[in-house]
Subunit: 333 residues, 2 copies
């Protein structure tokens, strides 16, 4: 951020247990030059996502992050200089900038973004979070009006949008979240029909009360015990949209999977389907147009959790994994 210096946060080692501040180190380098085909970027906002932690386990849909390199992460950035056709100074782009002030990135790995106010919406409702919610719910979960939709990590960036879209589509919507405050917020502010506090124990029973007609669509962000409880309450021909497994990311991977797989899948003719938002990018414009009109009409509320300062990025991720955030968490660099 200061003259000629590029602050960078390195991942020092891959954690085998819980992620902590000791796994990161702030370092300083020179500002890189853009090579042919690249743009030099000034990073503005860094996206924090549970997936950041999953990347540390090994290759997923992307290569693993490696020790002693700049921690990977998506961000919104401004083009400072460009040696790539189609990108000019002042342009706003999204890409894997990593956790640093500046990055030189090949233009083919960047998406040019529209100028939106506030810019943070490019990381929340009009970014990966909003599109993940949109496509995962509508194209994978396929809810019909009157059906019951349950979403876990419901107060998070994706879950909070999933539940609101399901309400727009006329569903009975139940959110699962940690803590009374988040649960109250879901029902009083975001219009969820009911909320289940998983920290209160007895998730199975609470879910039975909140979803008395059973579950038609379960949007799963967490895996583990909560997935197990939902599977047992799915209706025939129910759909499970497998978006993530937060419960499994931070620490050693679970030694077992959910009971009822595959027995309940067979008996109830369930579909469990994994998806990644980038698979749906061909339909992005249509999705953005829907999201924009819902935001404009006030049907979709956007919740953001912006933390100041690059130096706070490790803490911001560790807190996200502990469920601190409400809505989309990001760091203003």
């Amino acid at each position: 951020m200061s003259d000629g210096v590029n602050r960078q946060i390195l991942l020092m080692e891959k954690p085998t247990g819980k992620l902590g501040p000791e796994h990161f180190k702030m370092s300083k380098a020179g500002i890189p030059d853009a090579r042919d085909g690249e743009a030099l970027l000034r990073v503005r906002y860094i996206s924090l996502d549970a997936a950041n932690r999953a990347w540390m386990h090994g290759a997923t849909y992307r290569a693993a992050v490696e020790p002693n390199t700049v921690m990977a992460g998506g961000g919104i950035a401004e083009v400072i200089s460009s040696k790539a056709p189609g990108l000019a100074p002042g342009d706003i782009v999204f890409g894997d900038t990593g956790w640093q002030d500046y990055a030189a990135v090949p233009a083919k790995h960047l998406s040019k973004m529209p100028k939106v106010e506030p810019m943070t919406h490019l990381l929340s409702v009009y970014g990966i979070a909003g599109l993940t919610a949109y496509f995962g719910l509508l194209d994978v979960g396929k809810p019909k009006a009157g059906e019951t939709v349950v979403v876990s990590a419901a107060a998070g960036s994706v879950g909070s949008i999933v539940g609101q879209i399901a309400k727009i589509k006329g569903c009975h919507v139940v959110g699962i979240a940690g803590g009374k405050d988040k649960c109250n917020w879901l029902t009083s502010e975001l219009g969820f029909d009911a909320a289940v506090d998983y920290k209160d124990g007895a998730v199975f029973k609470a879910l039975r009360t909140a979803a008395p007609k059973g579950i038609d669509v379960y949007f799963d962000n967490v895996g583990g015990d909560i997935l197990e409880a939902c599977l047992a309450q799915m209706n025939n021909r129910g759909r499970v949209a497998c978006c993530g497994a937060i419960s499994q990311y931070d620490g050693a991977p679970s030694a077992t999977g959910p009971r009822g797989v595959p027995g309940l899948i067979v008996i109830k003719r369930l579909v469990m389907q994994g998806f990644i938002v980038t698979d749906f990018m061909g339909q992005r414009d249509e999705a953005l147009s829907d999201l924009q009109s819902w935001v404009a009409s006030g049907k979709l509320k956007v919740q953001e959790d912006v933390i100041n300062g690059l130096e706070n990025t490790p803490k911001a991720l560790i807190g996200l994994l502990a469920g601190e955030n409400r809505g989309k968490r990001m760091v203003k660099v």
Copy 2:
């Protein structure tokens, strides 16, 4: 089978552990009369299916079987007398006749069958087994030519047909079965490209060798450890057709599910889908026409395992659960 006597095999209690002969009892009753809307049937062949055992655990897609009643089971039967329109003496029907010589069954629960030689094919390739293989593979698994298809319980009634249809569709086909003899039979007689003997240990490694390009479609009849091994080797966008969970039926239900659920489903964008053959009955004629032409041309070999005598039905089911059979097991009453 003799004058005026209807031999019946009763399920005496629901087994909590392994199913044994002590759970059954042969009993005798009079031959029932057909009431209005019913047909009186002489049972000819009783179908043995792993699902028979699952019914003892509780309600599935049908009500649980209850202690001290005639054991439920599908069968091919001849109409002796009828008080139902559309059914006449001599007609051949399929329905839940139960394990007995005679049954009076409401016509609405019976399917009239064509006269086929041998009649046993109505329980194997043209029955539930053949149709389950057909729809589960083609409509749920959706294999493309050149893809790798793996099927478990591959020497069984469904699996042996799944693998052959996958070959007809141009796939690389791997069967998982118990024992060297069955494995040799799959490759030398049925044309499978490779077979993995799960009794030989090291299923994961053997599967890696047999399916070097990874698995695109896994047709799962067994659940448990074998499902886990296959999930780990699925390719991106792979499909798991969940047909059954034989490994879980005979004994206490497993306390855990397969590792990798939902993590691998997310990362690889897998679809796991349960199905029941009756969901597809609207497309039955088309399926039967395909199956008949494949049998006629010799592309599809039909393997049947016919055991004589109603009194041997409990033993036949117990043996089936232990993996004794090759192809479709049934009892000639």
